[in-house]
Each structure stands twice: as C-alpha cells, then as structure tokens.
Symmetry: C2
DNA sequence: TATTGTTATACTCTATAACTATA
DNA sequence: TATAGTTATAGAGTATAACAATA
C-alpha cells in the first residue's frame, strides 16, 4: 500500500504525452499560422483582453518578445492594441473579430483530427481515455504546484 | 453503440496533453541543454547509429538543419560522425560515451519530477493513468497513420 | 542521372540591455 | 525611483537553393 510509483509509468507517460503532443501539432493544419501565433491568439481567446506584461507571462516569453509577436499579429489584423484606461503607460491587447474567427477555425480543425483518431480506437480504449482526462488534469496541477 | 465521440473528449484531451507537455518541458531541468539538443541525443539513444537523412526525418527537420545541429553536438563532444562502410556518400552519427551519460542523467532527472507528481495523486488517479498509457499509445498510432 | 550530405543565406522566435513615458 | 512597454541587437533553430561527392 506504499505510494511508490513504478518508474516505468512515469517514463511511459512522459513518452506518450510528448509524442502525442508533437503528433497533434504536426497533424494540425495550422498552415499559414506559426506555433507562436496560434498559441498567442489562443491565449487571448481564453483569457480576454490583457496587458502586455500578463500576455508575456502567460506565453512564458519576455516583454520584448511579446511586443514583437503582438506587432506581427496586429499587422495581420488578428489582434489590436488599445490604451489601458487605468494606466497610461500600459496597453490592452485583444483579438479583433478576424482573430476570433481564426481561433475558432483553428480549434475545430484540430479537434477534427483528434476526433477521427478517437473514433478509430476500440470502445474500451476510448472509455479509458475519457476516464483519464480528470487524472491528467490532476497530474498537471501537481506539476504546476511544483513550478512555484 | 454508435462510435460517435463526444467532441468534449477530444477538446479536453487535447488541452490536457498540450498543457502537460508544456509543463513537463518547463519542469525539466535540462539546463545547459536546448530542447533541440536533448531531443536529438534522445533519438540517437533510442534508435542507435543512423545516417544523417534518417536522423533528419526522425527529428522532423531538413537535412541542412540536421547537419548544423549535429555539428554543434559533435563540438560539445556528445556525438560523433563516422563513414558509412556501405556508401561512401553517407555518414553514420552516433552518441559518444559522454553523450550516453548525458542522456541517462537527463532522463532520470526528468522522470524524477513526474514521479513525484504521480506520487502526490490519489491512488485511484494513478491507477487510471497507468491504465491509460496503452490507450494513449493506440491513439498516437491512429494519429500517425493519418500522417501518411 | 539520382542521392547523400554540406555550404550559403535568410526568416522566425527568443533573449538581454538600453531607452521612453508614466506612476 | 519604479514600472509598462518599446527599440536595438544578438543567438538558436529552422528553411530553401545551390553545390560536391558518390552511387
């Protein structure tokens, strides 16, 4: 009844997650959109208008990198800056309607690939995966506590 | 009994895998080693001496990028080139003893973080995750068939 | 001719350091 | 002074195009 983990589980789980992630990225027809760009507009979708500093932190990049990245997205018409009414040093960045549309398309295309793959599994495997999602989320939470 | 998938499963699974992967990367003390470098020596460990072209394909990069990457690892003493005895145009690349040692250290440190996180889960969650590994692998296989 | 690998060059994403404007 | 953001500049990792050596 010890909490000891078979090290093989950690190794196998890491390998599976890593390869799944890379494969999902490869299979995501996010053509005409780099990884940094699609991650950025995804973050802006999920966490609403935010300041440049918060955006940089969420994307795990530095402010100058964030400025440059946002500049490009603004140039593509997907993102807009506006002044923060509470602090004239700051800017708020947010998606344009075009940006929102792009995120929606991107996500539905990605999930399509994954849904097709899920449909090709054995029913028992699908059930196992559905059951695993909360456990994966719990594991993630443990890892992120360790971040701090 | 239809094979229809709740689209929420695909979305939730993708989110979980993506965030887990990113978190694992952040928590991997692969300091003094870039992601490209550690991936490269991992591939060389798992699939033995190989030609430059095979290496490029496994890493999903082009040959000139592979040449540059291997050049750096050779310079760091982790990898060595030798002529392919069966084809004088080709080279075989392989880990040096130093490279093998580096991979071993890297992997054990990475798994340490994940093992600790797993130990902090509820026993039922751990069991669920252990059970999910084969299903994740099966899912990966489906995705990779779709690659072709 | 076709294939394996390298060299030359350029683009994207990231960083640190120095600067501007505002708090 | 301290903070929010930008500009200047550099390094890592990738690509395409053109080349050399060998099959």
């Amino acid at each position: 009844m010890s909490p000891t983990i078979d090290p093989t589980t950690a190794t196998a789980l890491r390998a599976a997650v890593t390869r799944l992630y890379l494969s999902l990225r490869r299979n995501s027809p996010s053509s005409e959109m780099t990884a940094a760009h699609s991650s950025a507009i995804g973050t802006l979708t999920d966490h609403g208008p935010m300041r440049m500093g918060e955006f940089a932190e969420r994307e795990s990049i530095r402010m100058p990198s964030a400025t440059a990245l946002i500049d490009k997205l603004v140039h593509e018409g997907l993102v807009q800056r506006r002044p923060d009414p509470t602090d004239r040093r700051a800017v708020l960045i947010e998606l344009t309607p075009d940006g929102r549309r792009t995120v929606d398309e991107l996500r539905s295309r990605r999930d399509e690939v994954l849904t097709t793959a899920l449909e090709r599994l054995e029913p028992a495997e699908r059930t196992t995966l559905e059951a695993a999602v909360p456990a994966l989320t719990a594991l993630l939470k443990q890892l992120e506590n360790h971040d701090e």
